[in-house]
C-alpha cells in the first residue's frame, strides 16, 4: 500500500465525521441564514436575516457583550494562570493540594461552576451574607451586583475560575519541558529573577499561552449555558440571543438565529487563523 492510500485511509473516518457533520452543519446553517428554507416556502435566497440582525440594536449590544466577556475572561485567566503556574512551580506547603485542585477543577463542568459562582456572588449569596455578618451591609441590595449584571462580572468570574487551571496546567507542562536551565543561564548572566522571567521564560511560554488563550477566548465567546445562568436580562450574550431566536415559536426568527450562528462562526474562523499563526511560530 502506498503512503498516499495509507494516509487517506487513516484520515478518512475523522474527515468524514468532521467534514459531514461539522462542515455540513455550517453549510446548512449558512444556506438557512440566507432565508433559504424550501419547507417553509422560503425559496428566494436573500440577505434579509443578516439585515435584520445587524440593524437590531439588541444584536449589537449582544455582540459587544460577548466580545467583552471573552476578551476580559481570557486576559484575566491568562494573567492569573501565569502567576499561578509560576507559584506552583515553586515549593511551599500546600503546593500539592493546590496542584491537585488545579486538576480537579478541570473535571468540574462549567455549568456546576456557574451555579457555584451564582451561590457565592449573588446579592443574597455567601459573600453578601458574610458582608452582612460583618455589618458591611444591611440589605442584599447594598451588596454590589456581581451576577445578572450588565457588565457580566459573574460570567467572567466563572470563566476565570474554570480557565485559570486549564491555562495553568498547560503552562506547567510547558515549563516542565523547558526546564530551569534557561533561567539559570540568564540569572548567571546577570538577569534578575524578574528579568529572567520576563526576557527568557515568558517568551518561551508565549506560544503555549497564546494558543491556550485562543481556545479559552473561543469558548467564552460561544458558550451558552454559563451566560444563560449568570447573565442579565439585557443585554444577553450572543449565544443566548441566538438560541432564543432559534427556539422562537415564530419560525421566521430561525434564519436570524442561523445568521447569528454564522457571525459566531466567522469570528471563530479568525481565531483559528490566529491560532495557526501562533502555533506555527512556536514550532519554529
Amino acid at each position: 500500500m502506498s503512503d498516499r492510500w495509507k494516509i487517506l485511509l487513516l484520515l478518512a473516518p475523522a474527515m468524514l465525521i468532521i467534514g459531514v457533520l461539522f462542515f455540513g452543519a455550517l453549510a446548512t446553517g449558512l444556506v438557512r441564514s440566507f432565508n433559504y428554507m424550501p419547507v417553509l416556502g422560503l425559496t428566494e435566497p436573500s440577505l434579509e436575516a443578516y439585515a435584520a440582525v445587524f440593524s437590531s440594536p439588541a444584536f449589537g449590544r449582544s455582540l459587544l457583550l460577548s466580545l467583552h466577556i471573552a476578551l476580559t475572561s481570557t486576559l484575566l485567566s491568562a494573567l492569573i494562570a501565569l502567576w499561578a503556574a509560576v507559584l506552583l512551580r515553586q515549593s511551599f506547603p500546600g503546593r500539592r493540594i493546590a496542584t491537585f485542585l488545579f486538576q480537579l477543577n478541570l473535571t468540574v463542568p462549567h455549568i456546576v461552576g456557574a451555579i457555584g459562582i451564582l451561590y457565592l456572588f449573588s446579592q443574597s449569596g455567601a459573600f453578601a451574607r458574610l458582608a452582612h455578618a460583618t455589618s458591611l451591609i444591611a440589605r442584599p441590595a447594598e451588596f454590589p451586583a456581581l451576577v445578572f449584571d450588565p457588565y457580566a462580572i459573574g460570567i467572567i468570574l466563572q470563566y476565570v475560575w474554570k480557565e485559570v487551571p486549564f491555562i495553568g496546567l498547560i503552562l506547567l507542562a510547558n515549563m516542565q519541558a523547558i526546564g530551569d536551565d534557561y533561567e539559570s543561564a540568564a540569572r548567571s548572566m546577570g538577569a534578575s529573577r524578574w528579568q529572567a522571567f520576563r526576557h527568557v521564560l515568558l517568551p518561551m511560554l508565549m506560544p503555549g499561552l497564546l494558543s491556550a488563550s485562543i481556545l479559552v477566548f473561543a469558548f467564552a465567546f460561544g458558550a451558552y449555558e454559563i451566560p444563560a445562568i449568570l447573565g442579565a436580562s439585557f443585554p444577553q450574550a450572543l449565544p443566548v440571543l441566538a438560541y432564543k431566536s432559534f427556539t422562537d415559536v415564530d419560525l421566521a426568527a430561525r434564519p436570524e438565529a442561523m445568521a447569528m450562528a454564522m457571525v459566531i462562526a466567522g469570528i471563530s474562523a479568525v481565531m483559528i487563523l490566529a491560532y495557526l499563526r501562533l502555533t506555527r511560530r512556536g514550532a519554529r
Binding site: 468532521i18 455550517l26 498547560i170 465567546f221 458558550a223 495557526l276
Partner: protein, 266 residues
C-alpha cells in the same frame, strides 16, 4: 518572600474550592435565606430526592457516563489513526486537513449545532442517544487527534519495523509495540474527550431535544427553577465521576509525557 508565597498559595487554594462549598451546603439545607451564614435546618431531603427513581438523576448519571464513554471510545478509534497520519507523514494539503480538524475545537457548539439540527432531523438522528454521541464527536475528536498527532510526531516507526522483523504480525505489532508506546497519549486524549462530552450542554440540548436527558440538562432545569437544594445534590453527584477519573489518571496529565502541553502547542 516565603510568607508571600504561602499567602498566594492559600488564596489560590481557597479560590479553587470556593464555588463548590455553597453548592455542597445547599444540598443539605432546608431553606437557607439571607442573612443566615449557614442553614437553620439541615436535611437529606434533596439527596433522597436526587437518589430516588423519580428524579431520574441516577438513570441520567448512567446515560451521561455511557454517552461520554461511547464518545470517548469512538474518538479513540477514529482519532488515533488520524493522529498517526498527521504526526508521521508529510503530504499535500496537510495544512488544510489540520485546519479542518482544528476548526470544531474552536468554533463554538452554538454556531454549528443549529445547522446540525436540520441535518440530523433529516437523518432521523435527533432525540436519539446515537445522535447525541455522534454530535459529541465534533468537539472531542479535535482534541484526541491533536494529542495523538503530538504523540506520533515523537514516535519512531522503526520500532514497528523491528517488531515485524522479529516475527510479529501487524496486529501483534499494534497490540504489543505501538499501543503501549502511545497509551499515555490515548489516556490523556481520552480524558479530554471524556470531560468535553461529560460537560456538554448545548449540543445535547439541541440534538437530544430534551429526550436525551443528560446530567447537565437535568441540573440546568433545577438550577433555573429555584430548587437550590436539589441543584446542590445533583451538582455534587455530577462532579463525582470526574474526580474519580482524575484520581486514576492524574499522574498522566502532568507527568512526564507532557501530553497536555501538546494542547497548547498542537
Amino acid at each position: 518572600m516565603r510568607s508571600l508565597r504561602l499567602l498566594s498559595g492559600a488564596v489560590l487554594i481557597t479560590w479553587l474550592v470556593l464555588p463548590l462549598i455553597p453548592l455542597a451546603i445547599w444540598s443539605f439545607a432546608r431553606g437557607w435565606r439571607f442573612p443566615d451564614l449557614l442553614p437553620r435546618d439541615w436535611t437529606l431531603a434533596a439527596w433522597s430526592y436526587a437518589l430516588s427513581g423519580t428524579s431520574g438523576v441516577l438513570a441520567s448519571l448512567g446515560l451521561t457516563l455511557g454517552i461520554a464513554a461511547a464518545a470517548t471510545a469512538a474518538s479513540i478509534v477514529i482519532g488515533v489513526p488520524a493522529g498517526r497520519a498527521l504526526g508521521l507523514y508529510r503530504f499535500r494539503g496537510k495544512t488544510l486537513v489540520q485546519l479542518m480538524i482544528l476548526a470544531p475545537a474552536i468554533v463554538p457548539g452554538i454556531a454549528s449545532v443549529l445547522g446540525l439540527h436540520g441535518l440530523f432531523l433529516a437523518l432521523g438522528l435527533t432525540n436519539t442517544v446515537t445522535g447525541v454521541i455522534l454530535v459529541h464527536l465534533i468537539p472531542t475528536l479535535p482534541y484526541m487527534i491533536l494529542v495523538m498527532a503530538g504523540v506520533f510526531a515523537n514516535f519512531d516507526t522503526r520500532i514497528e519495523d523491528q517488531a515485524r522483523s522479529l516475527g510479529a504480525s501487524p496486529v501483534q505489532v499494534f497490540r504489543y509495540v505501538t499501543l503501549p508506546a502511545i497509551l499515555p497519549g490515548i489516556i490523556v486524549g481520552g480524558l479530554f474527550a471524556f470531560l468535553i462530552s461529560w460537560s456538554q450542554y448545548i449540543l445535547t440540548l439541541v440534538i437530544g431535544g430534551g429526550r436525551v436527558t443528560t446530567l447537565p440538562l437535568l441540573l440546568f432545569t433545577f438550577a433555573t427553577s429555584g430548587r437550590n437544594d436539589v441543584t446542590g445534590a445533583i451538582g455534587m453527584i455530577y462532579i463525582l465521576p470526574g474526580i474519580l477519573i482524575l484520581a486514576l489518571t492524574a499522574r498522566r496529565i502532568t507527568g512526564r509525557s507532557g501530553a497536555i502541553a501538546g494542547v497548547g502547542r498542537a
